[in-house]
Symmetry: C2
Subunit: 145 residues, 2 copies
DNA sequence: TTAATAATGAGAATGGCTATCATTATACAT
DNA sequence: ATGTATAATGATAGCCATTCTCATTATTAA
């Protein structure tokens, strides 16, 4: 629910002495509606065309620094932004190699535990201290397939 | 073995009417020694400091276009290059969030099959046509941990 | 209301990467 | 071997996503 998301972000920002301005609220709403990570250009052309790119990028950086956003990169190295895991929950991605749209997916408890255990096993066997994992499924989305 | 790698790349390039020049051979040798994907800057400063960056980038593009290299991106969106899967075999990555070094790992048949099956299952349940998967383990490498 | 501080917007600057083009090296036919 | 066609190289300029600067505006709190 968007109202609850706003409340959680607002509280988090207040704790970090960062203001939840109108522009930042519009931005969070746009990302909430997206259903997956989106690039600055995508957000700018689709939802936030009245916000200057310099302001949009600064908003992204500010919210990332405080942990509200996470930054990834698409196949061309362009930055993509989504809500942090503590807001969205742990999940994975379907990446369409044709239209480049990324969709959030939840594995469910059984599959998620299996992935976590596999990751932990292989990390341990290499003397690696695991803090997380990423599983992306590549292919064609329902529209492109 | 490096000699065999050179032979396979040479054959592949010949079939695509691309020459396996001395510079390209040095580049393949450097990547072979790396043990994981590396950025153009990393390769330039460590192994190939006498090769101009413009030539290095062109080499990367040419070898990627013909399928000898695959391009990914690190946490800052900087391009990383590694040998294609048909040369290196399917594998996954340990990504150190401290020093940013990426290490190739092989899951072994059992774990690999499990990951592939999980990916296929979740793809199917979303009407997604899977063509591949990526599993990265994040954390601290043996040196940084 | 005022003073202090934070957010915004316009534009310049940065940096990784690519395009251009003249020069040099390689392959192949003669 | 020699010449010719074509590909590779290197210096440089250009591109574009992103960040920085700084003057202006909005928000907070005394
Ligand atoms: Mn996501
Ligand atoms: Mn690899
Ligand atoms: Zn698609
Ligand atoms: Zn490390």
């Amino acid at each position: 629910m968007l109202t609850e998301l706003h409340a959680r972000v607002k509280k988090h920002l207040r704790e970090n002495d960062v203001r939840y301005s109108t522009g930042r609220q519009k931005f969070i709403a746009a990302l909430h509606a997206a259903g997956g990570p989106r690039s600055a250009t995508h957000l700018h052309t689709s939802e936030l065309d009245d916000v200057p790119l310099s302001s949009l990028y600064r908003t992204l950086t500010v919210l990332e620094n405080v942990g509200v956003l996470e930054r990834t990169h698409d196949g061309d190295g362009v930055a993509m932004f989504e809500l942090g895991e503590w807001l969205l929950g742990h999940h994975h991605h379907l990446i369409c190699t044709s239209c480049d749209i990324v969709t959030d997916i939840d594995l469910g408890n059984d599959l998620e535990n299996a992935v976590a255990e596999i990751s932990a096993t292989v990390a341990a066997s290499h003397g690696f201290t695991m803090t997380g994992h990423t599983l992306d499924v590549l292919g064609l989305c329902e529209d492109c397939g």
